[in-house]
C-alpha cells in the first residue's frame, strides 16, 4: 500500500549511461536526444540554461521552445515544443557549407568549427528547422549605464557574463571582441564540452519536467535508446528525410 519510491532520479541513470558510453568504444557512439512533449512544462529553462551555459549573445539561441494553443474553449490544450539542433544524420546544413566548417562528427553530432567558418550563412538558409543563428556581435549590456555613474555599471556586468566566452567545443575562445565566434554561424552542439567531462547537456539537467533525455542510441541499455523505441516517438518534418537524431514523444 505504501508506494515504492524511485531509487534515483532519471538524471543519475542517464549520466551513468553516458559515462558508460564514453569510457567504451567511442566510435560506436551515436548521441541522441529524446524530448517528451507530454512532460514538457513549457518552462523555457532549457532555453535559458543553454544561453547561460554557452554565454550566447542577444539574437543567438540554440534551443527555443515553441508554444501553441490547441482546441477551443473550454476544451483547450497547450503544447510546448523545444527545438535544439536536431543533429540530422542527413544534414542539409552540412552539404552547403563551402569550407567544411560545419560537419557531422564521428558521434553524429553536427558541429561548427568557428575557426573555419567564413560566415556566409548558407547553412542558416539551408536548415529546415531554423536551428542556426548567426552571431552579429551583440551585447546584452548595450545601452546600460557605465561604472562612472555610482552604480555597478555596464563594464563590471559584461565582465560577469559577456566578456569571457564559454568553453564551447572544449576550447578557450578569445575575449569577446571582434574575433570568432562573432561573424560565425552558431548552433546547438549537444554540449560536447560537458559530454567530454561525463556530464549531460545543460538543457537536459535543468529540465524541470524531466522531458529531455540524452544518450547513446547505439547502447540498448541506455534510457535514450529505450525511449526511441516508444510508440509515441516521432521526428520533425520527416518528409525532408533529414533523419534527425533528436526524437520527440507525442
Amino acid at each position: 500500500m505504501a508506494r515504492i519510491l524511485p531509487s534515483e532520479d532519471l538524471l543519475s541513470r542517464m549520466q551513468r549511461d553516458l559515462k558508460r558510453s564514453i569510457s567504451g568504444d567511442r566510435s560506436k557512439i551515436k548521441w541522441s536526444m529524446v524530448i517528451d512533449l507530454a512532460k514538457c512544462a513549457g518552462c523555457h529553462a532549457c532555453t535559458v540554461a543553454c544561453v547561460a551555459e554557452n554565454k550566447l549573445p542577444p539574437g543567438v539561441v540554440y534551443r527555443p521552445v515553441l508554444e501553441e494553443e490547441i482546441g477551443t474553449y473550454p476544451n483547450v490544450r497547450r503544447r510546448f515544443i523545444p527545438r535544439p539542433c536536431l543533429h540530422c544524420q542527413n544534414p542539409p546544413c552540412v552539404k552547403v557549407c563551402p569550407v567544411t566548417a560545419t560537419y557531422k562528427n564521428e558521434q553524429g553530432v553536427v558541429v561548427v568549427d568557428y575557426n573555419r567558418c567564413i560566415g556566409c550563412r548558407y547553412c542558416l538558409v539551408a536548415c529546415p528547422y531554423a536551428a542556426r543563428t548567426s552571431d552579429f556581435g551583440e551585447w546584452y549590456t548595450k545601452g546600460t549605464p557605465g561604472t562612472s555613474e555610482n552604480l555597478l555599471g555596464k563594464e563590471k556586468c559584461s565582465e560577469g557574463y559577456e566578456n569571457n566566452p564559454a568553453a564551447e567545443y572544449g576550447k578557450k575562445w578569445p575575449r569577446r571582441g571582434k574575433g570568432s565566434p562573432i561573424g560565425n554561424a552558431r548552433k546547438c552542439h549537444f554540449c560536447l564540452h560537458r559530454i567530454e567531462n561525463g556530464m549531460l547537456p545543460a538543457c537536459v539537467t535543468t529540465c524541470i519536467g524531466r522531458a529531455t533525455f540524452f544518450g547513446n542510441r547505439n547502447d540498448p541499455e541506455s534510457l535514450a535508446a529505450q525511449l526511441i523505441s516508444s510508440p509515441r516517438v516521432f521526428v520533425l518534418k520527416p518528409e525532408l528525410t533529414t533523419k534527425p537524431a533528436v526524437y520527440y514523444l507525442k
Binding site: 542577444p58 539574437g59 563551402p98 567558418c117 531554423a130 548567426s134 552571431d135
Partner: protein, 422 residues
C-alpha cells in the same frame, strides 16, 4: 575614346566612393553588426546587388558569345567593351559577396584549405575564378594590339608607362600575332560558353537545392536564373550601348551604328523576355498544381503578400507588359527598344527581391517568432544605412574602373575591335 557624360559620371563615381567609404569603414571595423541582417533573413541588399551585377555580367557575356562564338559581325565593334564589362561586373559581384561574409578574411584562404565540393558555393567560387581568368585574358588579347599603338602614340609619361606595363613592354604587334590573338579569343569564347552557362546556372542551383525552401527547391530555378541573367544583362547592355552611342556616321535609315545594334539586341531581348515569362508562368502553374501548403503560402505571399505591388505593378506591369508591347510594336524604333530595356533592368531588382524574400519571410516553424525576441530573429528586413552606404562604394568602384577603361583603354574603338579585315 571620349564620350559625353564622362566628366559627370566620374564626379558621380567619386562622390559615391567618398560617401560609401564611411559605410565601408564601419563595415570593416564592426563586422556585420551595423547591418540589418538577421538569422531568419540572413541575406539582404548586398546579395540582391550581387544578383543584379550577375545579370549585368551575363548580358555582356551574351554579347561576347554572339560576337565570338556565333560570329555575329554587327556586334564585333562592342565585343571588347562587352568582355571588359563582364570583367568589371565580376569584380563588383565579388566585392558584394566578400563584404557579406561574417569572416571574409577567411574566405581568402579557407576555400583552398578545406573546400567542400558538395557545396554549390564552392563551385560558384571555382567558376567565378574561371570566368575572371577567361575574361581578363580575352580582354587583354582583344585590346593589346591597339594598346601597343597607343603606347607609342601617347605623350603623357604616366599613361605611356601604364600602357607599356599592360602590354608587357611589347612595342610591335605583327599581323600574324593579331591573327593568333583572334584565334585564342575564339577558343576562350568557346570555353567561356559552357563555363558561363554553368556559372549562371550554378547561381540558380545555389538556391534550387535548398529542400526547405519550397519555391526555390525546383529544377526550374537554375534555368530561370540563366534566362533572368541574360535578360536583365542584355537589357542593360542595350541601354549602355545606346547611352554611349556615337552619332555619326548615320546609316540609310538615319540610325548610327549603336542604334542599329540596339534594334538587333531588341529582338534577342524580346525572345528572352518571352521565354522568361513563360518559365515564370510555369513556376506558378506547377507550384499551385502541387498544392503543397508551403509552396502555396510562399506563392500567395508573392502575389498577395505585403509586397504584392512589387510583383504586380513593378514586375508584371512596368517590367514585363509595357516592355513587351514596346518591343513588339516599336521594334524598329531604337528609342522604344531602349526604353523597354531600361524598364526591364531597372525593375529587375524587384524580380530578385520577389525571388529571395517570400521564401525567407515565412518562419520555418510555426510560432518561432514568439520564442526568443531580438530584432535579428524576425522576418521583417529593411536594409540599414550601412548597407545602403556600402553599396554605392562598390558600385562606384566598378563605375570608375569602367569609365577609366572605356576612356583610356581601347575597349571601344571606331574600327571593329581589333578584328582582322579578311
Amino acid at each position: 575614346m571620349r564620350y559625353k557624360y564622362f566628366g559627370l559620371l566620374i564626379i558621380l563615381a567619386v562622390l559615391g566612393l567618398i560617401v560609401g567609404s564611411f559605410g565601408l569603414a564601419e563595415r570593416l571595423l564592426n563586422g556585420l553588426n551595423p547591418t540589418a541582417l538577421g538569422s531568419y533573413i540572413p541575406w539582404g541588399l548586398w546579395v540582391a546587388f550581387y544578383l543584379f551585377f550577375l545579370g549585368l555580367s551575363a548580358g555582356a557575356f551574351l554579347v561576347t558569345i554572339m560576337t565570338y562564338v556565333l560570329g555575329m559581325k554587327q556586334f564585333e565593334h562592342i565585343g571588347p567593351l562587352a568582355a571588359f564589362t563582364v570583367l568589371i561586373a565580376l569584380l563588383c559581384e565579388v566585392q558584394f559577396i566578400l563584404l557579406d561574409l561574417g569572416q571574409f578574411h577567411r574566405a581568402l584562404y579557407q576555400f583552398f584549405l578545406s573546400p567542400s565540393f558538395t557545396s554549390l558555393m564552392t563551385w560558384m567560387f571555382v567558376l567565378f575564378n574561371a570566368m575572371l581568368v577567361i575574361y581578363a585574358l580575352k580582354t587583354f588579347l582583344l585590346i593589346r594590339g591597339n594598346m601597343i599603338k597607343m603606347a607609342d602614340k601617347e605623350k603623357g609619361r604616366l599613361l605611356k608607362n601604364i600602357y607599356k606595363l599592360l602590354v608587357l613592354g611589347q612595342t610591335s604587334y605583327s599581323e600574324q600575332q593579331r591573327a593568333n590573338d583572334r584565334r585564342w579569343v575564339g577558343i576562350l569564347a568557346k570555353i567561356s560558353l559552357p563555363v558561363g552557362l554553368l556559372f549562371y546556372g550554378t547561381n540558380g542551383t545555389f538556391f534550387a537545392i535548398l529542400i526547405s525552401r519550397p519555391v526555390w527547391n525546383s529544377a526550374l530555378t537554375p534555368l530561370l536564373f540563366i534566362v533572368a541573367a541574360l535578360l536583365s544583362g542584355g537589357a542593360l547592355i542595350t541601354f549602355l550601348t545606346y547611352l554611349f552611342r556615337l552619332k555619326d556616321p548615320l546609316n540609310a535609315n538615319g540610325f548610327c551604328r549603336e542604334e542599329q545594334l540596339c534594334l538587333d539586341l531588341g529582338k534577342i531581348i524580346l525572345f528572352l523576355l518571352i521565354v522568361f515569362l513563360a518559365l515564370e508562368a510555369l513556376q506558378f502553374f506547377v507550384g499551385y498544381q502541387t498544392g503543397t501548403a508551403a509552396i502555396v503560402t510562399s506563392l500567395n505571399l508573392i502575389v498577395g503578400g505585403p509586397y504584392w505591388w512589387a510583383f504586380w505593378i513593378v514586375h508584371v506591369l512596368i517590367g514585363s507588359v509595357i516592355p513587351l508591347l514596346l518591343l513588339l510594336f516599336g521594334s524598329h524604333n531604337p528609342r522604344s527598344v531602349v526604353w523597354a530595356c531600361f524598364l526591364i533592368f531597372v525593375t529587375f531588382l524587384a524580380v530578385r527581391f520577389n525571388f529571395v524574400m517570400p521564401d525567407l519571410a515565412v518562419y520555418k516553424l510555426e510560432g518561432l517568432e514568439a520564442t526568443f525576441y531580438h530584432p535579428r530573429l524576425r522576418t521583417e528586413y529593411i536594409p540599414s544605412l550601412n548597407e545602403w552606404l556600402v553599396s554605392p562604394w562598390i558600385v562606384s568602384s566598378g563605375l570608375i574602373a569602367f569609365l577609366m577603361g572605356t576612356r583610356f583603354l581601347p575597349v571601344v574603338t571606331d574600327e571593329t575591335g581589333g578584328a582582322a579585315n579578311e
